[in-house]
């Protein structure tokens, strides 16, 4: 079965733009209130959604960065608040990286180049503050 991937690329661009806008608004709110529960949840869910859509279209670099942001926000959620300015900066950089990548997809239709430095920044802070969950292989 072949899916109409052009349709899903359009949907991705529409939904990712909305999600990134929501992440931006939520991050600005977190800047003022580091423990804003609803905003923390919004960023987590939006990053998760971008990850899933990007993976479906084989935009692995986008999925990887969104996954790192999602995991980082899971750590924030577990702690109840953004830890400090450095963490907030990493989150903003992650957002900017995703915005640039989605812009590249919009312009070229191709998978954007990876941004390992942004992934590493998000992962480093997350790993430093949270224990990774035990992974179980189901299949």
């Amino acid at each position: 079965m072949a899916l109409d991937m052009a349709k899903y690329r359009r949907l991705f661009l529409e939904e990712a733009a909305e999600h990134l806008s929501e992440i931006s608004t939520a991050l600005l709110a977190l800047e003022k209130e580091r423990g804003a529960t609803e905003e923390i949840d919004v960023i987590f869910r939006m990053a998760h959604s971008i990850k899933s859509m990007a993976a479906s279209l084989d935009y692995e670099s986008v999925a990887e960065l969104a996954h790192a942001l999602e995991d980082r926000m899971e750590g924030v959620r577990d702690r109840g608040a953004v830890a400090g300015d450095d963490e907030l900066q990493s989150l903003f950089q992650g957002l900017e990286g995703l915005e640039a990548m989605v812009g590249e997809v919009r312009e070229s239709g191709e998978a954007p180049a990876a941004r390992p430095e942004l992934v590493a920044s998000l992962r480093a802070a997350a790993d430093a503050r949270t224990e990774p969950p035990e992974k179980k292989v189901l299949r």
Partner: protein, 125 residues
């Protein structure tokens, strides 16, 4: 018609993809829910044969929604839609009573074989 399906996912992208995979194969999509609260409400209203349930959703998570559905309908058929890194949550959902899971990014053959298996098991019971 193979079965009446309720799709629960907050992303239109994912709802459309599941619909496009299953409708040509004879499933009828009877409803779409965009959060966990809607999923439970629509289940009670529509009584579908099967639900595809995303895990991460607003208002009420997919796992909570599974619990809500099974509380009133213990034999409900719910298939979880999981993503990379959600192994622990999938395990929790299966322990709560979800019948199976499909993994994003969706592979049409895998989605169809999983739904078929769950529907067949339901008719045997």
């Amino acid at each position: 018609m193979k079965g009446r399906v309720l799709i629960a996912d907050d992303a239109s992208f994912m709802r459309q993809m599941i619909r496009e995979i299953i409708e040509p194969e004879g499933y009828e999509v009877v409803g779409e829910a965009t959060d966990g609260v809607e999923a439970v409400e629509q289940y009670e209203e529509l009584h579908p044969d099967l639900v595809t349930m995303d895990i991460v959703m607003p208002k009420r998570s997919g796992i909570d929604a599974v619990k809500g559905i099974l509380e009133k309908t213990p034999d409900a058929c719910v298939v979880m839609c999981s993503a990379l890194g959600q192994e622990t949550l999938v395990m929790e959902a299966l322990q709560a009573g979800a019948k199976d899971f499909i993994v994003k990014p969706f592979k049409p053959d895998n989605v169809l074989s999983t739904l078929q298996k769950v529907i067949e098991k339901k008719s045997e019971d």
